[in-house]
Amino acid sequence: MIKLKVNRKDYAVEVSPDTPLLWALREQLGLTGTKFGCGMALCGACTVHLDGEAARSCVTPVSRAAGKEVTTIEGLSPDLSHPLQRAWIAEDVPQCGYCQSGQLMAAAVLLRENPRPTDAEIDDAMSGNICRCGTYQRIRRAIHLAAQMKMKTAKAKGGGR
């Protein structure tokens, strides 16, 4: 039995400790928003947050996630209100959509670390995530837009004080 904390909820899963976190999330907890793309940390479709850091869940043994805060796409916001989700809608980013959970989870870490990334910084942070439909240009635009939204919200909050 391995104890997991996912999207602020506690779970116990019964799998062998070497099972990748990806399959524990998908098959034990039914959190299928995190996708399987390559199984070798090459495509980023399985990206989740482990204590706030982007991790490739397809190569992370579930035992390594024990005792840590796991956040998946289902935990990014309860209601599509995360600036990245709003920007993804505004820029019509997804096509097939399969890679987008991973893209969003990678972008969320980027924006937290770097509130106003340049194109080059976006490229650096996002080049581990493959999109076979070719939505890269829209992802780049949406990250810039989300950064602007976050700044505005921050300013508005600051002004209200």
Partner: protein, 727 residues
């Protein structure tokens, strides 16, 4: 896959009250039959059809409008674009419109191909009339229902944004309130469609309906399906195409905790477990002796020699005009080249998968498919049932590109066979390695081409021989696609050369089969456009002419090509100075009824490192439904074609595919993404397809740009640094 058969269009318009109140317009819906607990499906259809529904639109008492989508959503935007067709004529409130996949039923058959499927960039133009009629019929019935309620002349009522309005008495009723009453009416046989000038939705950039579920984890792809009691299977397939398991020892596999069954199936040996991980470990522990079959020695290098030999022999003639041999003799200058373009894997982002639950007397299948009818029928065959005993659910597709339109339905057959064997619902998951090594590739294509210029530099002769496999021969599609011994999917984009060259010969040599091949986004155009557009460029340069002007002069009989080329060239600033070290190249190509021109800007480092900086793209696809999704498809098609041009190559050694995963079958990534500017040429010409049309021009546009900066011609793909390095 351009040609559309003129099948008779049955009138499916029927109505029915929904159990929860509301109107279903369109055709007979199998779900409704089940709701009503009627007998056999055929009987149900009869009974339901007396008062029953229309296949394409469902209006709920809560004002919701659900459009049933019969062309699977695989990223190309059918959920949105097809719903727009219905909503426009329905005058629906777009904020209330939802889309969902249609069940499998003849009502949803492709109007051209006669089966339920998505492919050939045909979804929008083939539904252009049918879905607008479905919407207009619904609107007419809602108006009639309101008019009857108000006891006024329907001609004095109008529909607007989800309401029927009687202006004179200032009354209005929402569609939801009218739905039940409307469902009691007989659908009108002939409804008038709007004049395009009245369109409020069609032609306007419209946000995708499926974005929310694709950014919060809720969207259900095939891989996400969960059925109570479901097991997970992986299949050990032969390492060589055409091979077979001779014997196997399952003891070690069965010793892996969580492994439940090891069963032999037609396509290999399946390991069935409680989850993917134990199934995968079980497969690794499985010991199989393979009979590798006739392709055990297949090798890409010797295959090239074989293709080169075939290219020396005349093939089946796809196009013949004038007298090429004589013209070639009389030409002032002659040019010859051979091209070698590799097998390509589709590499959809979501690896193949299928869930099946085969029981005595029934079978359910859940999968992301482009081929509903074929897959359902295949499932029935494997399960030993009638097609109507199989219920196939279409999930979201994590990319299709042709890979999920499988003529032999192998990924569905496997799942049904395993489920039947282990007597439980089973999800078959393909690993990325299984997917890349699983075949059904874009065929390798070897081209031998020659052309002649007259003394003034005008092309007078063009002879192109294409050597590649046929994936149509021997299939139910053969009758449609193989004509006079020529597989159209092998020669499309070459046999219909638009350039005005008086003596023309295009023929095809069928290469031996064995390696499973299939349609890969843009099909034959993917290799033919590369050869045609780079070789023509070469002729232009040899004639001392600007490649843009050279093309324009040869396109006088093809105004749509010419116009789109001019549009792209103007937007790209063709002929204007570029930054030092950069070069421009262009290409124009017609495919799937649309016309696309692209101008690429590239630079090449001393070490031969290529960088594509900018691509300007113009499309003429006729009338436009959702311009934002056309632009998205241009962007995506360019990435798809560029990925293949830079990296795509499936090769064989000792009969085995060498590539495995994204490290050796790489994909274009964010840091390599050029700036793409996609333009739509205003057009009232015939509506064409979109999804595949941006793929063919990108590789030749880039190769022509490479020539502009390096003076080197690309004769093989993918583009290799060694072919670009300064000598």
């Amino acid at each position: 896959m351009n040609e559309i058969l003129n099948l008779s269009r049955r009138c499916f318009l029927k109505t029915s009250a929904l159990a929860g109140g509301g109107l279903v317009l369109g055709v007979y819906l199998p779900e409704l039959a089940e709701l009503a607990e009627l007998g056999s499906p055929a009987e149900a259809q009869q009974k339901t059809s007396t008062f029953a529904p229309n296949a394409f639109v469902r209006i709920g008492a809560d004002d919701s409008v659900t459009v049933l989508i019969n062309h699977s959503e695989m990223g190309q935007g059918t959920f949105t674009g097809l719903a727009m067709l219905v909503a426009e004529e329905l005058d629906a409130d777009w904020s209330k419109v939802r889309a969902e996949h249609a069940p499998v039923d003849p009502a949803y058959n492709h109007v051209g191909f006669g089966i339920q499927m998505v492919g050939g960039s045909t979804s929008t133009w083939t539904e252009w009339e049918r879905l607008r009629k479905a919407g207009a019929t619904a609107r007419a019935m809602l108006i009639a229902a309101a008019a009857a309620d108000w006891k006024v002349d329907p001609a004095n009522c109008r529909a607007q944004n989800g309401y029927v309005i009687h202006a004179a008495t200032r009354r209005r009723l929402s569609y939801g309130k009218l739905a039940e009453k409307a469902s009691e009416l007989a659908p009108p046989q002939n409804v008038a469609l709007k004049d395009p000038k009245e369109f409020k939705l069609i032609g306007k950039p419209t946000k995708r309906l499926d974005t929310p579920e694709k950014i919060n984890g809720e969207g259900v792809f095939g891989l996400d399906v969960n059925v109570p009691g479901m097991l997970v299977a992986v299949v050990a397939r032969p390492p060589v195409f055409g091979g077979k398991a001779q014997s196997f020892d399952a003891a070690k596999a069965k010793a892996v905790p969580g492994v439940r069954h090891v069963v032999e199936i037609d396509r290999g040996v399946a390991v069935v477990a409680d989850g993917y991980w134990p199934a995968k470990l079980g497969r690794e522990a499985l010991e199989i002796v393979w009979d590798e079959g006739p392709l055990a020695m297949l090798d890409s290098r010797t295959q090239r020699e074989q293709y080169a030999e075939l290219a020396k022999q005349p093939g089946a003639i796809a196009k013949k005009e004038g007298d090429v041999a004589t013209a070639m003799l009389q030409a002032a200058k002659k040019f010859e080249a051979v091209y070698d373009l590799p097998y390509l894997a589709h590499a959809t982002m979501e690896p193949l998968n299928c869930v099946a639950d085969a029981r005595a007397g029934s079978c359910e299948v859940w999968t992301g498919t482009q081929f509903q009818t074929e897959d359902r029928d295949a499932a029935a065959q494997v399960a030993g049932l009638k097609p109507e005993q199989v219920k196939l659910h279409t999930t979201l597709l994590g990319g299709g590109f042709g890979r999920r339109a499988v003529i032999d339905s192998h990924f569905v057959r496997e799942a049904v066979q395993i489920s039947k064997a282990v007597k439980a619902p089973v999800k078959v998951i393909w690993s990325r390695e299984d997917d890349i090594r699983g075949g059904f590739y874009r065929p390798r294509a070897y081209h031998s081409i020659a052309a002649g210029l007259d003394a003034a530099g005008n092309p007078v002769a063009w002879q192109q021989r294409i050597v590649c496999q046929s994936f149509m021969a021997g299939t139910p599609f053969e009758a449609f696609i193989v004509k006079d011994g020529v597989d159209e999917t092998a020669v499309e984009g070459a046999a219909d050369l638009p350039y005005d060259i008086p003596n023309l010969l295009v023929d095809w040599q069928r290469a031996p089969g064995g390696v499973p091949t299939l349609w890969w986004r843009s099909v034959g155009h993917s290799h033919n456009a590369f050869v045609v557009e780079t070789f023509l460029d070469e002729l232009a340069r040899a004639a001392g002419k600007d490649p843009y002007e050279f093309r324009r002069a040869l396109l006088t009989k093809h105004p749509r090509h010419k116009r789109v080329l001019e549009f792209a060239a103007a937007k790209a600033g063709w002929g204007k100075p570029l930054a030092a070290g950069r070069g421009r190249g262009l290409a124009v190509h017609e495919s799937f009824g649309s016309f696309v021109a692209q101008v690429a800007e590239v630079s090449v480092s001393r070490e031969g490192k290529l960088k594509v900086h900018r691509v300007v793209c113009a499309i003429d696809c006729g009338p436009v439904v959702n311009p934002e999704q056309i632009r998205a498809q241009m962007e995506g098609g360019i990435v798809y074609g560029l990925t293949a041009a830079l990296y795509g190559e499936i090769t064989f050694e000792n009969g085995r595919v060498k590539q495995r995963n994204f490290h050796d079958y790489p994909m274009l990534r964010m840091n390599e993404m050029p700036v793409v500017e996609a333009h739509i040429v205003p057009s009232t010409e015939k509506m064409g397809g979109v999804g595949e049309t941006a793929v063919p021009p990108i590789a030749p546009a880039v190769a022509n740009a490479i020539f502009a900066v390096t003076g080197k011609r690309i004769r093989r793909l993918p583009i290799r640094a060694e072919d670009l390095r300064k000598a």
